[in-house]
């Protein structure tokens, strides 16, 4: 029997290759850089920032810019003061000092306007620790009159950090690097890198309801994305208990933070609906005719990232229509809880970046838009460009969450042609998709606690 290890360790990739000259590779890299910078300028820094930050900025059933609910809900009484026993110093050393109000402890690269300040809060409290041999820690919570003010402030900080990251990309001293964060209702994380030596302030903000929690800590490793992410992960771990306690600032308070749903209580709708009903109208609204049979569902992905399957899904259903140039694919997934459904949704939208090089002068350009359906919805529309010329074809991914169910819709239309500019065509396609999905989303009420 052949030894697989021996085979691998003596793997011969074949004769010498004929790679592109290094100068041509650098020219391609310069084009990528110029295109990224142009997107930041032409598209508007705010627009790029909105795409560059984790899409969690738009998470939650109510974004600051969303229209009012069709049926007016009773006004929410938001907590305006931080409880005396709020565990702000959880997992911080005993010598941590606590004070009312807020005083910035880290250094913002792009000035004070780049960072969070506690302006506009009804109450703020700060816990600060200064280590003797290692970096200190600063943690502050600020409460706003309502969740809208808090969300607006977090969006402002997110956009400012992303804009600063673009602005300082070529800087040799002091720049900002963004990192991934997924906590609370929405969150943002970044590093203020102070010098080539790699010293940095890792900053993470989390919003729950009408409160924002900011953690910042001094660390090393600036310039290495892995080290920055490790810093953010450490912050996430050390402040997990504090974020949990922020349920007091959520719309339902801490008692209602799980929406009454637990893994032990799978009852949803009228009676127990553990599986997707056989007569669920998943295919309603799809065109008729087309080719026979189905092909495997596309897997959402872009920018070198793909979203894996959802092994935690309780049940799945699939409907598809296709012809020679177009596929419309719908997947319905149910989860044991709303939190798991929401986490999957964020994984799907989180893979999209503004631009992805495909080689040979071709680029995939993506735009992400918030939607208006269900408890949460979003759309990503992508198109290809070759040497700056827009190719026909649009690729649409839409995701809608209702209760503990997620509807994932993908429309791949290779022949989609448009005479308008591509941005307008993208929004038209997005609207078409959401309109097509409306009857399915209406039927998803069966996956909510209230039922249909």
């Amino acid at each position: 029997m052949r030894d697989p290890i021996d085979e691998l360790e003596n793997f011969d990739p074949g004769p010498a290759m004929n790679p592109m000259p290094a100068a041509d590779v650098r020219r391609r890299g310069d084009r990528i850089r110029r295109r990224n910078n142009a997107l930041a300028t032409v598209g508007g820094l705010a627009a790029v920032a909105a795409l560059a930050v984790p899409f969690a900025v738009f998470a939650g059933g109510q974004s600051p810019s969303s229209d009012p609910q069709p049926a007016p809900a009773p006004p929410v009484e938001w907590v305006q003061e931080i409880p005396e026993d709020f565990p702000l110093t959880d997992q911080l050393p005993a010598s941590t000092k606590v004070r009312d109000g807020y005083e910035m402890q880290h250094v913002p690269v792009c000035g004070d306007s780049q960072t969070w300040s506690a302006d506009g809060t009804t109450d703020a409290r700060q816990a600060a620790y200064t280590g003797e041999t290692e970096g200190g820690w600063d943690r502050t919570i600020g409460v706003y009159p309502t969740d809208r003010e808090a969300a607006r402030e977090l969006m402002r900080v997110s956009a400012a950090a992303a804009a600063c990251a673009v602005e300082t990309e070529d800087a040799k001293q002091r720049w900002v690097e963004l990192a991934q964060s997924d906590a609370g209702d929405e969150s943002v994380a970044y590093a203020n890198v102070m010098s080539d030596a790699g010293d940095m302030f890792v900053v993470r903000l989390v919003r729950v309801g009408n409160a924002i929690l900011q953690d910042s800590t001094y660390a090393f490793g600036g310039g290495d994305p892995r080290r920055i992410q490790e810093g953010v992960d450490l912050v996430t771990e050390k402040s997990a208990g504090v974020v949990d306690a922020m349920c007091v600032f959520s719309e339902d308070g801490c008692a209602g933070s799980d929406d009454g749903e637990t893994a032990e209580d799978p009852t949803i709708g009228e009676g127990a609906v553990p599986a997707i009903p056989a007569d669920f109208p998943l295919g309603e609204g799809l065109p008729t005719g087309g080719e026979d049979g189905t092909v495997p569902s596309p897997e959402p992905g872009a920018c070198g990232e793909t979203v894996p399957e959802a092994p935690e899904a309780v049940d799945t259903a699939h409907a598809q229509w296709r012809d020679l140039a177009e596929i419309r694919d719908r997947q319905l997934l149910t989860f044991a809880s709303q939190a798991e459904a929401e986490a999957y949704v964020q994984r799907v939208v989180g893979v999209y970046c503004v631009e992805e090089g495909l080689g040979g002068g071709a680029t995939r350009v993506s735009r992400v838009y918030p939607g208006q359906l269900g408890d949460y919805s979003a759309a990503a529309v992508s198109h290809n460009e070759v040497d700056g010329e827009v190719d026909p074809g649009l690729y649409l991914t839409e995701v809608v969450r209702v209760g503990r169910a997620v509807l994932l819709y993908q429309r791949i239309d290779e022949g989609y042609t448009f005479t308008d500019d591509v941005d307008r065509a993208s929004t038209v396609l997005m609207d078409e998709g959401f309109t097509e999905l409306e009857p399915v989303v209406d039927a998803m009420c069966t996956f909510t606690v209230e039922g249909c």
Binding site: R28, G29, I32, R33, N36, G304, E305
Partner: protein
Amino acid sequence: MDEREFDDFYSASFQRITGQIYAMIGNRDEAQECVQEAFARAWAHRRKLDKAEHPEAWVRTTAYRIAVSRWRRTTRGRRPADRALSAPVEAAPPTVHHVALVEALKQLPEAQRQALVLHHIADLPVHDVAREVGVPEGTIKARLSRGRAALAALLTDEEGLSHA
């Protein structure tokens, strides 16, 4: 990283990384295109590359992600394989064993194949493989163990068929 440093880095590591990506995806021309694109991105983000502890790992990871993304788009029936960045190479016919190993690797689950290539072909210790892939060391050890067993079975099957 200035132009000369980048060119030296590119010359020194291009063939090696392409061989590793080829082992991961089973297509030599595609591997070459993905590695070239990864180097182009490396130049576009050279300040980050300067700070990275392992720039070769950065390029390899980027190239692999590009390859996976392009493969998925191709199998979905989207645009055909993207234009080559350089002229295709007229390669000498591979040996029977070489073909068998590449074909066997392609039949493994992606995660096992990646772990085997990084550990046995790229010669990274388990700890470094875990860091590059972004999973715990125990997960890498399990993938290596299962991957080696599966590869051995596939190579044995192929040997039996060729001797039939």
